[in-house]
């Protein structure tokens, strides 16, 4: 069978559409089957991690930028949305969009500086910026309320003309988060499967060659970084409207480490692998009742095992397995 656009980055989205729809269907019916509020909350959180991991996949997996600021973008989105909703009584939809945009603006400032440094310094520059932001949240008490945090963030509601749709229960909120996650993943996959995704992989593979064939690597890196930050900001906004509270402790470096783990184990530059891993890596420690400290240890062990035994992540391992199986069948 002729592969229309090539094997790794098909521009045709249909290849993933079936998987995407099945995944969406399962996540839609799961809370109806298991009617336990705790499960709904775990599912809602895992969806936020899906957005976080998929957006980080654009930055690390596709572009190869080792950013340590993803939790900071999540935090910028979370605080923007919280402050707009609580202090200025802004509705959910504009607050959500402004959360993403504010993360984009911060990301633009960071990448402008970080791209002037060497590849290895990039991670340190992003880490420094996220540390500065963490200090701002803790110490700018007049605005962020410092370590006390911001309570009383309203649950989301949408107002369309005279129609008001409220998402006050966890289940209603879950379906809103599912819808936004589905849209975010769809948009990100459009980027992955487009010429932009192909250019980003080219930059990751060989930046000098990419430049030599006309790809403006700095422009594409900025685009990937800023778009990744936008979706991290969206995830942050969803988080605060679900939890209804935000404080600086919610966005430690371990959130970035979790996103890194999800992308590396799922398969850098993959789609299905990262999607599954994001949900699994949130749910498994949650259901096993592993404490957050031990969760980092578990992630570390899984990350090491992954780097040793399947460096291309779950997606790469499955591709290799199916390739070997088909070779065995052909030889038989």
């Amino acid at each position: 069978m002729e592969r229309r656009w090539g094997y790794k980055v098909p521009l045709n989205f249909l290849e993933d559409l079936k998987f995407y729809l099945i995944f969406l269907f399962i996540l839609s019916i799961l809370p109806m089957i298991i009617r336990i509020p705790y499960i709904v909350t775990v599912l809602a959180f895992s969806l936020m991690y899906v957005i976080l991991a998929m957006s980080y996949n654009l930055i690390l997996g596709y572009t190869g930028l080792f950013s340590l600021a993803h939790a900071a973008f999540f935090a910028v989105g979370a605080y923007t949305s919280a402050l707009l909703s609580v202090d200025l009584k802004v509705q959910f939809t504009p607050a959500l969009l402004l959360a993403g945009i504010s993360s984009m603006v911060v990301a633009y400032g960071i990448i402008k500086v970080a791209l002037k440094t060497s590849y290895h310094s990039f991670g340190l520059v992003t880490l420094a910026f996220s540390s500065i932001l963490a200090l701002v949240y803790k110490n700018w008490v007049e605005i962020t309320r410092g370590p006390m945090g911001i309570p009383g963030i309203p649950r989301p509601y949408l107002e369309l003309l005279s129609l008001r749709i409220e998402f006050f229960t966890d289940l209603q909120c879950y379906y809103l988060i599912l819808t936004i996650t589905a849209l975010s993943v769809w948009f990100l996959s459009k980027i992955f499967r487009s010429r932009i995704g192909r250019a980003l992989i080219a930059i990751r593979e060989n930046q000098v060659l990419a430049e030599s064939v006309g790809i403006n690597s700095k422009k594409y890196m900025t685009l990937a970084f800023v778009l990744g930050a936008f979706f991290a900001g969206i995830a942050g906004s969803l988080y605060v409207h679900y939890v209804r509270y935000v404080n600086p402790e919610s966005f430690s470096l371990s959130l970035t480490v979790t996103a890194i783990t999800m992308v590396i184990i799922g398969g850098q530059g993959g789609f299905k692998g990262v999607l599954i891993t994001a949900i699994a890596l949130y749910m498994i420690p949650e259901f096993l009742r592993i404490s957050p400290d031990w969760r980092d240890v578990l992630f570390g062990i899984v990350l090491l095992a992954c780097a040793r035994f399947f460096p291309e992540g779950i997606e790469g391992a499955f591709k290799l397995l199916f390739k070997r199986k088909s070779e065995v069948t052909e030889n038989a």
Partner: protein, 247 residues
């Protein structure tokens, strides 16, 4: 076509290129030879914008000084590298497509949602298939390029240059570490492309390739042009013999 005027490049006080000048007319194959470390690849790196320098470089009479490598590529300069460079994790087909996509301009929304980008992609794909057939790589279109043999990777590199329909191709040792059969194939491809008007500048150590392909040759030694002329003149030039074998 391509003109280099008084190009000088220093690395921390060490002069890699010293007032080098050359002129390459359109539709010709010119060669650059010289011992290791004479500055040949540095010259290519300056022309393609990978290194900054003093002096002037003109493409079709227009200065390309200070332009970024991607901008120089969009102006019609394509190159290959001494040690083969391809996108190893992309397929052969994708390597070709990605090499030409930036030469068609689309904004973000058009790229993600526009129908015109799909039409443009279809055109590129057809062109890629033609190039793959021309290079006898059509059966390897959908395998990861990193799995190709070294010779095939060299051909792919050449194909990537052709995708953007450049004005001039700079080939850095196109036959290095390639078996004799593949050398003949690469030579044939270059001759065929030159017959349809493509301009080449070739860095090469294989003197037979230079003699066979080039109309004019520049010889560099320690960053300076020590000789220039037809391949026959260069072969008989005592300065060239001295540069290669020592006095």
């Amino acid at each position: 076509m391509l003109e280099v005027r008084n190009l000088t490049k220093e690395f921390y006080g060490i002069i890699a290129l010293d007032n080098v000048s050359l002129k390459v007319p359109a539709g010709k194959i010119y060669g650059i030879i010289g011992p290791n470390g004479s500055g040949k690849t540095t010259l290519f790196n300056c022309i393609t914008g990978l290194l900054d320098y003093r002096g002037e470089i003109l493409l079709d009479g227009e200065s390309i000084v200070g332009l970024k490598p991607c901008e120089i590529s969009l102006k019609g300069v394509a190159r290959t590298f001494q040690v083969v460079r391809i996108f190893r994790k992309l397929t052969t087909m994708e390597n070709l497509l990605v090499s030409a996509q930036e030469h068609q301009r689309f904004n973000l929304l058009q790229t993600l949602f526009g129908g015109s980008v799909n039409k443009a992609e279809e055109t590129l794909r057809k062109k890629a298939i033609e190039i793959l057939k021309f290079l006898s790589l059509q059966n390897l279109a959908f395998i990861e390029a990193g799995n190709l043999s070294y010779g095939q990777q060299k051909l792919l590199e050449l194909g990537m240059c052709l995708m953007s329909d450049p004005k001039i191709l700079l080939l850095d040792e196109p036959t290095a570490a390639v078996n004799p059969v593949m050398i003949e194939k690469i030579k044939g491809v270059i001759k065929q492309l030159n017959s349809i008007g493509k301009t080449f500048v070739i860095i090469e150590h294989n003197i037979d390739v230079i003699m066979d392909l080039c109309e004019f040759v520049y010889v560099l030694d320690r960053g300076k042009t020590i000789a220039e002329g037809s391949p026959e003149e260069i072969r008989a030039d005592p300065r060239v013999i001295e540069a290669y074998f020592g006095g």
